[in-house]
């Protein structure tokens, strides 16, 4: 294998690009499809580059902003819904601006392979008045990450790097360039820059607005955006990020017969769009995610142009792009394809054999069978699989931490018993503050923290509360006699059931810490893999 070509996931190409750009610190909370970014940096970073997991995406962005305050280059990585958690520091970091380069990576998940929604992070960049970059390939993921740091330092603003699952989790050969040295520690010249008192914030906001023409110009002139000509002007194609690959696939290696604009860098390059519109009265917009460019375009062009895309049904509104949906939108004849087998049935994921969550759910389900009017609210993690047969034990799975707060709200409404089930990593991510709400009001809820000592769903990353959960729960004010610690094992089933029954009867906050190591991390530790991997 040659020295400078590597097989990298786009996630890994971003990580390598950041390292080669002189990264001093990476911050993240694990979430599919973004997890591999920090994992790669943990494996590859030279000593001294920060690469520990953060408690959640908000703390991660704030820590990275602190590093950028100190003049060094920082990267934050998260899945799309993580950007909701981090929205406060993300939007405000546009107002403070940066000192060292700050790149925020959001990995979106159209088709919801491993998520609760299809939100498109480009809307966040637009909303925060920040540039966004969505690479179309693994090689471009590497190159645009390096460029994003330069752009961030040149324009003194954070840059959002957006990609979708299909690229994040696809591997290709990537050629890497010579690395750049890290920045030295350098504090901001202006002591008011990061002090967002209203007077300062108004001044900074005006400065951010004043930067918009230069940011737009950077997108108009970007090497990553490209307007190409084609003889067939019956339709002009706008392909965003990886969509260009499906267009090329449909053309089977030949150049597109239609004029085409490839968009990788935002804000929207309106001049390039107008030049395409001068050639073509019908425009087909192909983007992975929501119709971001398409909806903007309807406001850019005067009447008389036909805009086709996800909004008019030329492409499906929901779900990721596929080679088939793009070929159909381009009017290519459908290839003859074998019929799907009538025998095929879905194979949903499930809890692993010997998973401690299974033993927890068995006593929870048995106790709740005695309270048909009660409900179990759950959360984001492997234990959300408790919704599927045969368990069918939970009533909700909404967002990180929502089990505790929804259980409290339902208890406020009079639901009894109102139970919450959350994992240890999700609890320290966003559950602790909700528990404080419940403690303050002495809400009648029973909280089970299924503590398997890891962030299991994403592959076993560090759980920051490991070994500290009892102290955290007590510190938040839960009464010691209503904090139970037990081990979810078959031999303890009767004792565990009894403990839960007693706490369900208590009209205040009870916490049951159900502790047993994740079966996957236990196997990894003992070196016993299910398969030779």
């Amino acid at each position: 294998m040659s020295m400078d070509r590597r097989l990298l996931l786009a996630d890994e190409a971003i990580a390598q690009g950041a390292l080669d750009a002189g990264l001093s610190g990476a911050y993240a909370y694990p979430g599919t499809p973004s997890t591999e970014i920090l994992e790669y940096i943990q494996r590859q970073a030279p000593a001294g580059v920060h690469c520990e997991w953060s408690a959640n995406e908000k703390t991660a962005v704030e820590e990275a902003l602190g590093m950028a305050y100190a003049g060094k280059r920082a990267l934050v990585a998260m899945k799309h819904v993580g950007l909701n958690v981090a929205a406060d520091p993300f939007v405000n970091s546009a107002i403070t601006g940066v000192n060292g380069g700050l790149v925020v990576v959001a990995a979106d998940d159209p088709s919801m392979h491993s998520s609760q929604n299809e939100q498109d992070s480009r809307f966040y960049a637009d909303f925060a008045l920040l540039p966004a970059i969505e690479p179309s390939s693994q090689q471009e993921a590497y190159a645009t990450t390096r460029y994003a740091f330069d752009l961030s330092e040149k324009m003194r603003v954070p840059v959002l790097l957006r990609l979708t699952t299909r690229l994040a989790h696809s591997r290709a050969d990537v050629t890497v360039d010579a690395p750049r040295a890290q920045n030295a520690l350098a504090l901001p010249d202006d002591p008011r820059q990061f002090v967002l008192l209203p007077a300062n914030a108004r001044r900074n906001y005006a400065a951010l607005l004043a930067k918009q023409p230069a940011l737009r110009q950077a997108a108009e002139n970007s090497d990553f955006n490209a307007l190409t000509d084609g003889p067939d002007q019956s339709v002009g194609i706008i392909a965003c990020g990886l969509a260009i690959n499906y267009v090329r696939e449909a053309c089977d290696g030949a150049p597109s017969p239609h004029p085409m604009l490839k968009i990788v860098q935002y804000p929207l390059p309106e001049h390039l769009l107008r030049r395409l519109a001068e050639k073509c009265r019908t425009l087909l917009v192909i983007e992975d995610g929501m119709p971001f460019v398409e909806s903007r375009l309807r406001g850019v062009l005067p009447h008389g142009w036909t805009i086709r895309g996800r909004l008019d049904g030329t492409l499906p509104y929901a779900g990721e792009l596929t080679p088939e949906s793009v070929a159909r939108a381009l009017g290519k004849p459908a290839a003859a394809v074998r019929a799907a087998s009538a025998l095929v049935v879905p194979r949903p994921p499930g809890l692993c054999a010997a998973c401690p969550h299974m033993d927890s759910f068995l006593f929870i389900k048995e106790a709740m069978a005695e309270h048909p009017g009660g409900r179990v609210f759950s959360d984001i993690g492997c234990y959300a699989l408790g919704a599927l047969p045969p368990l069918e034990a939970i009533a909700s799975c909404v967002d990180m931490g929502a089990s505790i707060t929804m259980a409290k709200g339902a208890a406020d409404a009079g639901l009894r018993p109102s139970v919450a089930v959350i994992g240890d990593s999700t609890f320290t991510h966003s559950g602790m503050t909700g528990l404080l709400d419940a403690v303050y009001e002495k809400a009648p809820i029973t909280l089970l923290i299924l503590d398997n000592g890891t962030t299991g769903m994403t592959g076993g990353q560090t759980s920051l509360g490991a070994g500290r959960l009892e102290a955290i729960v007590r510190g938040l004010g839960v009464e010691p006699k209503h904090l139970r610690v037990l081990a979810p094992l078959k031999k303890n089933h009767a004792a565990n059931l009894k403990a839960l029954r007693e706490e369900l009867a208590y009209q205040g906050v009870s916490v049951i810490l159900s502790q047993r190591e994740c079966i996957q991390t236990a196997k990894k530790r003992s070196g016993k893999h299910f398969h030779a991997i």
């Binding site: 294998m1 040659s2 070509r5 097989l7 996931l9 599919t32 499809p33 997890t35 591999e36 392979h113 491993s114 299909r166 690229l167 989790h169 696809s170 591997r171 290709a172 050969d173 990886l242 690959n245 499906y246 090329r248 696939e249 290696g253 596929t322 080679p323 088939e324 070929a327 290839a335 003859a336 394809v337 074998r338 019929a339 799907a340 087998s341 025998l343 095929v344 049935v345 879905p346 194979r347 949903p348 994921p349 499930g350 809890l351 692993c352 492997c382 699989l385 047969p389 769903m457 994403t458 592959g459 893999h529 299910f530 398969h531 030779a532 991997i533």
Partner: protein, 195 residues
């Protein structure tokens, strides 16, 4: 040269190691590769697949278009059937016949085999048994790769070198075990082709 394939199985069966072995061999030849993987929730025993595309030039889509896969390589027979719309008219299927019945209403295995065997050139064999008989019960994935080795556009020694590189850090015994299974399955497929 262009070669598209789907590697299919159940989360936890090791389809990513098959892809990694092929990937190393492809890169060693100086070819290009795109390999779209499934990470996350589905890895907990759900249906998982890798779209693997090999070419001596640029590759556009990360996903194999339907009707274009030259090979479906499956670690589980129902998972082989799941991807039939991707199989090219002259495409081949190499599949393990041992089922993983981890959900309610698993179809009748006899019907699955019958449908697979109607496909010309389908090789359906017990990779679990073959791996066990050759001393590496865990190397089911290498058995399926070995059985498909002659279909791939890569020389068998290049695949063997990639297997050695892949398992090197686990020690010589693991390398030897995986190679033995790979070779036995390759021999089985060759014998089958000449019958």
């Amino acid at each position: 040269m262009r070669y598209d394939m789907i590697i299919a199985g159940v989360g936890g069966q090791g389809i990513l190691s098959i892809a990694t072995v092929i990937g190393h061999a492809v890169l060693d030849r100086g070819w290009r590769l795109k390999q779209s993987e499934v990470h996350g929730m589905a890895q907990r025993g759900g249906a998982v697949e890798t779209h693997l595309r090999i070419a001596d030039g640029e590759i556009a889509s990360d996903l194999v278009p339907q009707g274009r896969a030259s090979l479906i390589l499956a670690l589980e027979p129902l998972e082989a059937l799941r991807y039939l719309p991707w199989l090219a008219a002259d495409g081949r299927v190499v599949a393990n016949l041992a089922t993983v019945e981890n959900m309610a209403h698993y179809p009748d295995s006899g019907e699955i085999y019958a449908e697979l065997r109607q496909l010309p050139g389908c090789l359906l064999f017990d990779a679990v048994e073959l791996a066990r008989l050759n001393g590496s019960a865990r190397a089911v994935n290498m058995a399926v790769l070995g059985a498909a080795a002659s279909c791939l556009p890569l020389p068998v020694p290049a695949l063997e070198a990639a297997i050695s590189a892949q398992f090197q850090r686990k020690g010589g015994a693991v390398v030897k075990g995986n190679l033995a299974v790979f070779r036995a399955a390759h021999a089985l497929a060759e014998a089958n082709a000449h019958n």
